[in-house]
Symmetry: C2
């Protein structure tokens, strides 16, 4: 028995939206969601009326403090970390639950997909990824929601999978249309715009220029176990080199995410293959 033809939509190239942990949590206060931001962003996604979207969110104050406390980025060192893995994963599923609840409240058929259930890494890099459930969800009009997570690793026991590595890998595996990175700044800067007045936004970049920039400027100093903004962008270079453009916009400014999803111009940084 097949499903009705009305249900079979040709799989559109999906858009990937990353919402950084700083966009949806109060970064300075452990385990504190930014509920207003989560609600607003869910409404913006609904208003954009986009089809074929995968949402990936970061950990912010849910994931990072616990991951740091148990030194999870070092992999398995001793048995005291085992409960730390469970607790960090627990915190991430609580945050993800808040995001998905807000999407469902806005009548978006979201389904949470914890990476630890379908991804295995090898020394911290994605080795295998069960993508069929995601493909089927997109075909049927669901919105999969993934997140940075503690994942299990063939070499080092467990690892922290950043939302950025996840976005890049998903984009390539699912042949994405584009990647929208929702940050808490207006794009990629020559220095950290939060502490350096001389920082200038870079509106357009190619992977080659990104590599040059990396050598020239000092790394972003924002505390983040998965790296600063430039580190985040480096994760995305392989996707850009395959022809998937990346747009960095400020998710903290109302309507930016909605407009970016609609394909409208937004202040930010565009990274694409020359």
């Amino acid at each position: 028995m097949g499903i009705g033809e009305a249900a079979i939509t040709q799989l559109l190239k999906p858009t990937l939206l990353k919402l950084g942990g700083s966009a949806i949590t109060i970064k300075q206060r452990p385990l504190t969601p930014d509920k207003d931001a989560i609600t607003r962003l869910a409404k913006e996604i609904k208003e954009s009326d986009i089809s074929s979207l995968i949402l990936v969110h970061g950990g912010g104050s849910f994931g990072h403090p616990l991951a740091k406390q148990y030194r999870l980025n070092e992999g398995y060192k001793d048995s005291s970390q085992i409960m730390g893995v469970s607790r960090t994963h627990q915190a991430m599923t609580i945050l993800s639950r808040l995001v998905v609840d807000s999407l469902i409240d806005n009548k978006i058929p979201a389904i949470v997909v914890p990476p630890s259930s379908c991804i295995i890494t090898k020394s911290g890099r994605i080795e295998s990824f069960e993508k069929n459930p995601l493909i089927r969800m997109l075909e049927l009009g669901f919105m999969p929601v993934l997140h940075g997570d503690t994942v299990f690793d063939w070499d080092v026991g467990f690892a922290i999978l950043s939302g950025d590595q996840l976005v890049s890998s998903l984009a390539m595996k699912l042949n994405a249309e584009r990647i929208i990175m929702g940050a808490d700044v207006d794009g990629l800067y020559t220095a950290d715009p939060k502490i350096d007045l001389s920082a200038r936004r870079v509106p357009y970049l190619t992977p080659t220029k990104l590599k040059i920039l990396r050598r020239r400027v000092r790394k972003s100093t924002v505390m983040d176990v998965t790296g600063g903004m430039l580190g985040k962008m480096e994760e995305l270079i392989p996707a850009v080199e395959r022809g998937i453009p990346v747009i960095i916009v400020n998710a903290a400014k109302p309507n930016n995410i909605c407009r970016a999803l609609k394909g409208e111009e937004v202040v930010g940084t565009l990274i694409e293959r020359a």
Copy 2:
């Protein structure tokens, strides 16, 4: 870099514990957990000191009313069901969160693994299953927690995967030591013991005898979209035929689950290959 030798435990044959929805929710009241039972069962699991355990729980009053309301057992019929799938999955993740939180409170390193993330069905039967994360979790000493779920299906769009089909499939794929079914009755009866005074408990069965019993007695009338007790047991026959014994015990009676996990004798029904 490999992990320390202390961390590498040879993968023991896991025990599978199914906790029926009626054991952990108030079945008559939608979306109502039985928090006392969840807390007690988490303590019993901790006290048993078992290594290599996978927990699977049912939906009870979290999964069934929503699944019924949206006719999810019929597969994709019309687009109004889409939000129903999201809401049913949402309800199941909320219940699973309560179970896992209680395990973590008892210092058990539990990790929730939603079946919709790692399983695809074909006309309601499991077709593919990404089992590597589960294997790695067990090797490292974690306790994976799965649950009955809405899953995505190649033929019919989506399907309800019962905890019973899941337990049987997991047991065979992971070469389980045994399956413990925690029910709300003392075992398998010749009729529904809750409404029929003539019902007798069957202490021991083989798959052949189970098939004969099925022909003889009327099916359990307990309302359950995934079938009554005899239907549940039929799902387990393939695992029993491969040599994996099934023990049905009453999870509502204190210490039964702890004793069953320890391998002690408990009033119930044992089903095993002759």
